[in-house]
């Protein structure tokens, strides 16, 4: 049984300019102890999707899903207090900005022991012992001293380690890491990723890694979901994705990796992710896709077969070449 099942999750926001669909019918199945990555540019709705899962979106958001199930529990019908027993405990999350994600007014110890008290009902002595153990586990030197430190006294990398310690404090079955390394130095990024992978292996938890960094994906994930403008455009095991991308967007993402480039100019994908007011009529990627035909511009594609990574494309790529591509355009 999958640990997490999401079918057709959509999130719409009420904005001053009308309804905006930030996440459009995405599906995600995660097995226990699996590492899954969600990739996509900024604004593709990766964070919104997991925040919806955790119930952390503001009231302006409307979340709908056919299936939203964690560990057999239906999250669509669950009450808020019941959900609060799961999040932070069974299902935990770390965020992009370690420096602002910790409360500046409370010590590391206070913020770390809070979950232990609330979810596990530990007494003070147990809390302290476990907190020290957790800080040791995430590689913070002198853990006992650090308990009384405030977040501003620690570096970004150290704060992210504290965030990880908080997230794993109740031995979650699922850890969601939302761009955990984006705000950090490159050397620290690698350390934090290694730490996450080490903990994932030790604890046997599932890990969802949200990132826009294909390099991070290659190093960590087993399966990859590619998201674009709120839609899931492709999903594949990591090896297949890097070797044979099926969606033109995935291909373009991979082509823009510096190490894959042999030209003097870094390749990039021209244009930006469409927002609320400039959504194309057909395929959302069509304005930036160099395979786009009139059909792409007029009619939204449907998800392709599994062998094509469910690619949301009229002409999914096979070995880098679009299939069923109209002859006259290619010429």
């Amino acid at each position: 049984m999958p640990l997490l099942e999401i079918d057709n999750l959509s999130v719409t926001f009420q904005t001053a300019g009308g309804l905006f669909t930030a996440v459009d019918r995405i599906s995600l199945h995660i097995e226990p102890s699996e590492i899954v990555s969600i990739v996509g540019e900024s604004g593709s709705g990766k964070s919104v999707a997991v925040l919806a899962l955790m119930g952390l979106l503001p009231w302006t958001a409307t979340v709908t899903a056919d299936v939203l199930r964690f560990d057999g529990q239906d999250l669509t019908t669950i009450t808020k207090p019941e959900l609060r027993k799961i999040i932070g405990c069974q299902m935990a999350m770390i965020f992009q900005e370690p420096m602002t994600s910790l409360n500046p007014c409370f010590t590391v110890g206070f913020q770390l022991t809070e979950t232990l008290k609330i979810h596990l009902g530990m007494n003070r002595a147990e809390q302290k012992r476990r907190a020290i153990e957790l800080l040791e586990l995430v590689g913070i030197p002198e853990p006992e001293k650090r308990l009384s430190a405030f977040p501003h006294q620690l570096s970004g990398g150290m704060n992210q380690r504290v965030m990880i310690a908080i997230a794993i404090s109740c031995n979650p079955r699922l850890l969601i890491a939302d761009e955990p390394t984006t705000a950090l130095d490159v050397t620290i990024q690698a350390q934090i990723l290694d730490l996450l992978l080490k903990l994932q292996k030790e604890k046997g938890m599932s890990l969802v890694l949200i990132t826009h960094d294909m390099g991070v994906v290659a190093e960590t994930a087993e399966r990859v979901f590619v998201q674009y403008a709120g839609q899931q455009v492709e999903q594949q095991p990591v090896k297949g994705l890097f070797a044979r991308p099926h969606h033109p967007y995935t291909q373009a993402l991979l082509n823009s990796l510096p190490e894959r480039s042999n030209s003097r100019i870094l390749p990039s994908i021209a244009g930006i992710v469409p927002g609320q007011f400039d959504k194309p009529q057909g395929c959302l990627f069509s304005p930036r896709c160099h395979y786009a035909t009139d059909l792409c511009r007029e009619k939204p594609p449907t998800a392709g077969p599994v062998e094509f990574g469910n690619a949301l494309c009229h002409y999914p790529l096979a070995d880098g070449v679009p299939t069923n591509y109209p002859q006259e355009v290619r010429a």
Partner: protein, 336 residues
């Protein structure tokens, strides 16, 4: 922390000096002088007037008078009232508890209602409650104290007859002054009804005096809370599975309190200013009323000394607030 305290203390000294100058000059720029006011309508011959002025040392050049005053202050002497012939410090000490009692009660009302009102308004932004609170706060803030006080007296004392019109306690009761705080003294006296009487005398003036601070605190709490609620660490707190009471009441409130504490400190000055009007309306025998009376009598030493002492208290309160600020916000504490 100690250095922080010391630095704040050093900043206070020039302010204190400035207050002596302002108080000294201000009272002398008013038309008339104490001798003329004592003589009243009968008037006085210019010779006798000059003689009396010289007796009190008001004939010397103003700069010399100021020098003498500073010298006197340096010796810890706040002067003697021209009218009552009592040391200013002693008069102040006798009347001060009444003002403090009133101010504390006003502040308690302001914080007790203002803080939760602002918090709830922020968490239910745009709701009917939010609009009601913000409109009432603006109304309360804009209301002239003397008018508001009279309205309450007319309604609660005049029409409903629930509260007494003025004074600190009913004349039926007499007891020794122990602390100067009527609530405590009446309680200690053990006389039946004395405490209730003191309470009922205190309630209206406290509401009147507390209205502006209440409005300011409610508005400040709301805006600080709104800002904090959109912070990443509030999302983190919710992601931990904490309930809304804990997220708002602990994680958000602690951060939102930083600007609110500052405002509360500043309101202490407003309270003393408001006390002057409130005490006059309710015949409350505190320093506010005493200051007004002293100004009317051109009692130079009393006005100078009173202003100086009030200023000193406001400054000390703000110093304490600064320290509290450091306690609440660890970033301040550690950068100094």
């Amino acid at each position: 922390m100690f250095v922080y305290f010391l630095r704040k203390l050093i900043v206070i000294l020039p302010t204190f000096f400035g207050v002596t100058l302002v108080a000294f000059v201000f009272i002398r720029t008013l038309p008339g002088d104490p001798v003329m006011l004592m003589a009243g309508e009968r008037g006085m011959s210019p010779e006798r007037h000059a003689e009396l002025m010289a007796e009190m040392g008001f004939d010397k050049p103003i700069i010399v008078q100021y020098g003498l005053y500073l010298k006197q202050l340096a010796g810890g002497d706040f002067g003697t009232s021209i009218i009552t012939k009592q040391p200013v410090l002693k008069e102040f000490a006798t009347l001060f508890p009444a003002t403090i009692e009133l101010s504390i009660c006003a502040m308690i009302i302001a914080i007790f209602f203002g803080l939760p009102a602002g918090m709830i308004a922020a968490t239910r932004r745009g709701s009917v409650f939010d609009h009601t609170v913000m409109t009432s706060a603006l109304t309360g803030y804009s209301m002239p104290i003397f008018w508001w006080g009279l309205l309450l007296i007319i309604f609660f004392s005049g029409i409903l007859g629930w509260t007494p019109v003025s004074g600190r306690v009913s004349l039926l009761y007499y007891f020794e002054t122990v602390t100067g705080f009527m609530l405590i003294d009446s309680f200690l006296s053990g006389q039946e009804g004395a405490f209730i009487s003191a309470m009922s005398h205190l309630i209206l003036p406290s509401i009147v005096l507390g209205t502006i601070p209440l409005a300011v605190i409610a508005r400040q709490t709301r805006s600080a809370m709104l800002e904090v609620l959109s912070e990443d660490y509030v999302r983190t707190a919710r992601a931990k599975g904490l309930g809304p009471m804990r997220v708002i009441g602990v994680h958000a409130l602690r951060n939102a309190m930083i600007p609110v504490i500052t405002v509360i400190g500043l309101q202490v000055g407003v309270l003393f200013a408001g006390a002057i009007l409130t005490e006059t309306i309710f015949s409350w025998p505190g320093i506010g009323k005493w200051m007004v009376d002293s100004i009317f009598r051109r009692d130079y030493p009393a006005v100078q000394g009173g202003l100086l002492l009030i200023a000193a208290i406001v400054m000390i309160v703000n110093l304490v607030v600064d320290l509290l600020y450091g306690l609440i916000n660890p970033q301040i504490r550690h950068t100094d």
